[in-house]
């Protein structure tokens, strides 16, 4: 049919559209008519408009009477076959309702926990990514080796900023500082709150970090000394709906701070704060304090007090910067030329800090990369467990499908068609599973957020990619779980299957067994995890720390009544509920690190030790044991100036015996201006007590009398009511002496327990996911048991007739499964042991892995498995043999 020009024909794609929907009987007539019309119109009104009208017509014809009908047997195409697959899939799903339920519910749990975990993992991995310059921001930290221990410290000295600004690669330097020693209050009108998350920083902060501004000008926000920037939740807390910019807040009852900006709450950053205040404010406050001799931290090279972040000009200069930093840092930027200790300064990339930094004295509690990966792995394993259920149950019920497969083959189906058919089925099941899973996810997510203190949500619409990925993921899971069954089922020989009873092959049973073993290995390891984490937690909470932490309260604003402390103490002295009041170091908190030198030895022999300022009541308050020498005493007039006590760890550190230590003299440089030279003498040795967390060994420590620090009170109450009346009477005294500061306190034992929050969370997470993993695995086992029982109905009948008891029949059925569970238990022991050991290595004090842990985990899995299997087997065993054998 040559001789037609392109211009004679209507645009091909429009015709294709017509052909797409139009049924074949009408196609020629319609296409021909439209073609004729088109040619006529082309002559009359031109090709363009004719084409448009042609297109309009193809749309107008899109009406039910032209549509291809459903039962058009003359045209076999992919779409029709697919529809058939779907229909058959739906039918077989409905036919085996229980199996479908198990598959769908299992997959739903698997998919829900997988998405949740992935949301968590992605959230953890995206820390600091909101900063557009994240790749150019680095934090300077240093590592040194002291008494055989390598330590990386997150804080550096304040004046270092000005050294870094001299480097050619550096564009900006921002420091952060938190005054942890002194709780602050903020006041607006009659709203007075104690705030412990105020961060001091440099005005350049907003040129380095990208915070989301709600109001205010980032360029000038912190340039004035008396300014403060609030996060949104804090703005609401103090000002409600008002715009706080332009208002003032009263800081520590003395400084009026102008609110210059409000920024959105910062998420996904290790730099966590509620308020930002210029460092200059703290500097001036300290310089103006009379007892400080004009202390200026901008000139203090001895105190590492600031977290220092540098913005490099571009990322490529990092190696040069590192090199210069390392070279200059070794002798502490020229200030310690003869030091024997090397200070290795380095730059941490900002995005790495949250998960990879293990520096001490960090801004907040950081995450743990291996934990994030572990969670990711658990998520994938749970999903795999759910897929295994599908594989096992589908291959197990293959006998029921054998005839269908045989017939399809006889009717001319190729193997590839059957493979597609079964994959369609599994994709259908996963899609249903996903639907249910997304509902589950919405239910579980709020609880998950509560446990993990996160604000995760799934941005289905905000980031369309997420929805797309979930969809693709579902299909992928469908393929994954449908892959093996489809290959297996499509292999059936039609002759065999149609001849009669088709027994599934032996090899397939073996595979099923090993998959069940795999499932239970995972569940078992998780159970071991639950037990280990829980036991370690109990151990940490219950461990004798070497001091008495009961009935001690710590006052938040104790430092504010410095000059009236004596008055306060006297007032409490007569209170029968108060045992002792102590000012100074509080157990459970970090301590200062101070360099001490034994008198007469050279500078390099100085040793860094924890320095704890205490008052006379310290030993009594924590019920400490003195192993040599004596306690501080008011009778010795010189004690207040130069007496110190050591703990046994410090004594060991110098290689002395306890008695040798007595009378040794030390010198150190310190004081509130960090310049005064002190000469001190050891008067006593304290038994080791673990004041710090149990992650670490007991610090070698020096205790010295001083009159500053937090105020703690040891109460003496025999019951709760008495405790509260005592606290009330203390509050009354407090309000008399210091009405402008709120009376706020915390219990020491609670504060110490809070240290292990991270472990508690981990424990809850593992519990949750172990529960899900076991649930899914048991669902699978339940399904398999049902099949076995169905297959063995007659066998059971015969056994009963021959006199078997119900118990013995249950045993026969359950035995096969129990063997699998026991095998997986045995395999999981070394795996669980290895993982538990790895985790416990983080703690200086940990439980030993007793066989009890593994035995109980084994008992749990066996019991759970028996429960899953027995209901079906008992049901089968109780059937009347007359019924089961009737047709024989």
């Amino acid at each position: 049919m040559g001789g037609t020009f392109m211009s004679d024909r209507p645009p091909e794609w429009m015709t294709k559209f017509l052909r797409l929907y139009c049924k074949s009987e009408l196609l020629d007539a319609i296409e021909g008519d439209l073609h004729e019309l088109f040619l006529r119109r082309t002559k009359k009104i031109g090709r363009r408009r004719a084409s448009f009208l042609y297109f309009l017509n193809t749309i107008l014809f899109f009406q039910p009477f032209t549509w291809k009908s459903k039962n058009q047997s003359s045209r076999l195409n992919q779409f029709d076959m697919f529809r058939n697959y779907l229909k058959i899939a739906t039918r077989s799903l409905l036919k085996a309702k229980m199996v479908s339920m198990i598959n769908i519910v299992g997959l739903a749990f698997g998919i829900a926990s997988f998405i949740m975990m992935m949301a968590y993992v992605i959230d953890e991995l995206n820390y600091e990514r909101f900063n557009s310059r994240a790749d150019r921001i680095f934090r300077v930290v240093y590592t040194y080796e002291a008494s055989g221990e390598r330590r990386t410290v997150a804080k550096t000295a304040f004046p270092l900023k000005y050294e870094f600004l001299k480097y050619p690669q550096v564009e900006k330097v921002v420091r952060f500082f938190r005054n942890r020693m002194d709780a602050a209050t903020l006041k607006y009108g009659d709203q007075l709150f104690t705030e412990d998350n105020i961060l001091f920083t440099d005005p350049e902060i907003f040129e380095v970090f990208d915070y989301e501004w709600i109001s205010g000008n980032p360029e000038t926000a912190l340039t004035a000394m008396n300014s403060i920037v609030l996060t949104q939740s804090m703005a609401v807390k103090y000002f409600g709906d008002e715009n706080p910019v332009g208002e003032t807040l009263l800081y520590k009852n003395s400084d009026q701070l102008d609110v210059t900006g409000v920024i959105a709450d910062v998420k996904n950053s290790h730099i966590d704060f509620d308020f930002l205040v210029p460092t200059e404010l703290q500097r001036q406050r300290w310089m103006n304090e009379a007892s400080n001799n004009g202390y200026d931290f901008e000139k203090d090279w001895k105190w590492s007090g600031a977290w220092t972040y540098v913005l490099l000009k571009n990322g490529s200069v990092k190696p040069e910067f590192d090199k210069q930093l390392l070279n200059d840092g070794i002798d502490y930027f020229g200030r310690l030329p003869n030091s024997k200790i090397d200070y290795l300064y380095q730059a941490q990339p900002l995005p790495d800090i949250h998960l990879k930094s293990d520096a001490i004295a960090d801004i907040g509690v950081n995450g743990n990369l291996s934990q994030v990966y572990a969670f990711g792995a658990i998520a994938i394993l749970i999903l795999i467990i759910a897929c295994i259920n599908f594989i096992n149950l589908t291959t197990a019920q293959s006998a029921y499908r054998a005839k269908e497969i045989g017939l399809r083959k006889v009717m001319g189906a190729h193997r590839i068609h059957l493979i597609w058919q079964f994959i369609t089925e599994s994709v259908l099941v996963t899609t249903l599973g996903m639907g249910l899973g997304l509902v589950l996810l919405e239910v579980m997510l709020p609880f998950f957020n509560m446990f993990m203190e996160k604000e995760l949500s799934i941005p289905y619409l905000q980031i369309p990619k997420v929805s797309l990925l979930i969809l693709l993921g579902t299909i992928a899971v469908g393929f994954l779980s449908g892959f093996y069954p489809s290959f297996y089922l499509s292999r059936f020989k039609p002759v065999k299957t149609l001849k009669g009873n088709y027994e599934s092959e032996r090899s397939n049973v073996g595979l099923r067994k090993s998959l069940v073993i795999g499932q239970f290995i995972v569940s078992n390891v998780l159970i071991i995890g639950i037990i280990v984490v829980q036991m370690q937690l109990d151990y940490l909470k219950g461990k004798d720390l070497g001091f008495d932490k009961k009935q001690v309260i710590i006052l938040k604003h104790g430092t504010k009544i410095d000059d009236k402390l004596d008055l306060f103490q006297q007032a409490l002295h007569s209170n029968p509920g108060v045992e002792v009041v102590n000012q100074g170091y509080v157990a459970g908190t970090g301590d200062w690190n101070q360099s001490f030198r034994v008198n007469g030895e050279d500078l390099e022999a100085a040793k860094g030790m924890g320095f704890k300022h205490v008052s006379y009541g310290f030993v009594e308050m924590y019920d400490l044991e003195i192993v040599a020498g004596r306690n501080f005493s008011r009778q010795h007039i010189t004690d207040s100036a130069n007496a110190i006590m050591l703990n046994e760890a410090a004594v060991r550190n110098f290689g002395w015996t306890n008695d040798e230590a007595l009378g040794q003299t030390f010198t150190y440089i310190g004081g509130s201006d960090n310049k005064t030279r002190y000469v001190t003498k050891v008067v006593g040795v304290l038994k080791d007590a673990n004041f710090e967390s149990l992650y670490e060994q007991v610090h070698p420590s020096v205790f010295k009398l001083s009159n500053w620090g937090d105020v703690a009170i040891k109460l003496n109450a025999s019951n709760k009511a008495e405790l509260f009346t005592t606290i009330e009477s203390i509050e009354a005294e407090w309000n008399k002496i210091s009405p402008q500061w709120p009376f706020e306190f915390s219990f020491l034992d609670q504060q110490i327990e809070a240290q292990y929050k991270k472990e508690e969370r981990l424990g809850q997470m593992i519990q949750f996911f172990a529960f899900i993993a076991i649930l899914i695995a048991c669902l699978g086992l339940f399904g398999l048991a049902t099949f076995t029982v169905q297959k063995k109905t007659k066998e059971i009948g015969v056994r009963k007739v021959l006199g078997a008891s119900i118990a013995s029949i249950v045993l026969v059925i359950a035995k096969g499964f129990l063997v699998l569970v026991v095998v997986s238990f045995i395999i999981s022991i070394p795996l669980g042991y290895y993982l538990a050991l790895n985790w416990l290595a983080d703690f200086a004090f940990s439980i030993s892995l007793s066989p009890f842990i593994f035995i109980s985990s084994g008992i749990i899995s066996v019991v759970v498995a028996v429960l899953a299997v027995s209901s079906q087997s008992v049901k089968a065993a109780r059937l009347n043999p007359v019924k089961t054998l009737r047709y024989e």
Binding site: L26, G32, D33, L34, F61
Partner: protein
């Protein structure tokens, strides 16, 4: 009786098939209808009516007459069936009856 009911448009299409006799297909029917009724007629509505009328048994069709003009596509040629002719006749009769039932005064006006 829904099956044999003849709508106005359907009646016109049926008549046009009669008029065109041996060249009644979608486009020619549309043209003829437009010419006679002086209304715009869309080709899809004509096809739709044709399919329905064939289903009702008023029309029969055969394929034929592929031309270069039609891009090599055959025409679907329609012809009236006996029941189609009957239906037209009945409709004509009905009208005549009803015409005659209208009193003369309606046409001529009260004198």
């Amino acid at each position: 009786m829904k099956g044999t009911y003849l709508g106005e448009f359907e009646e016109l299409v049926l008549l046009t098939v009669g008029i065109l006799y041996d060249d009644a297909y979608g486009l020619s029917i549309t043209d003829e209808l437009e010419k006679r009724t002086k209304r715009h007629v869309t080709i899809s509505s004509v096809h739709k009516a044709l399919v329905r009328l064939e289903k009702k048994g008023f029309l029969q069709s055969e394929m034929g007459g592929a031309t270069e003009q039609r891009g090599g596509r055959k025409k679907k040629l329609y012809a009236l069936t006996a029941s189609g002719k009957n239906a037209l006749g009945r409709s004509m009769e009905l009208r005549t009856e009803m015409w005659e039932a209208v009193p003369k005064v309606v046409w001529e006006g009260p004198s």
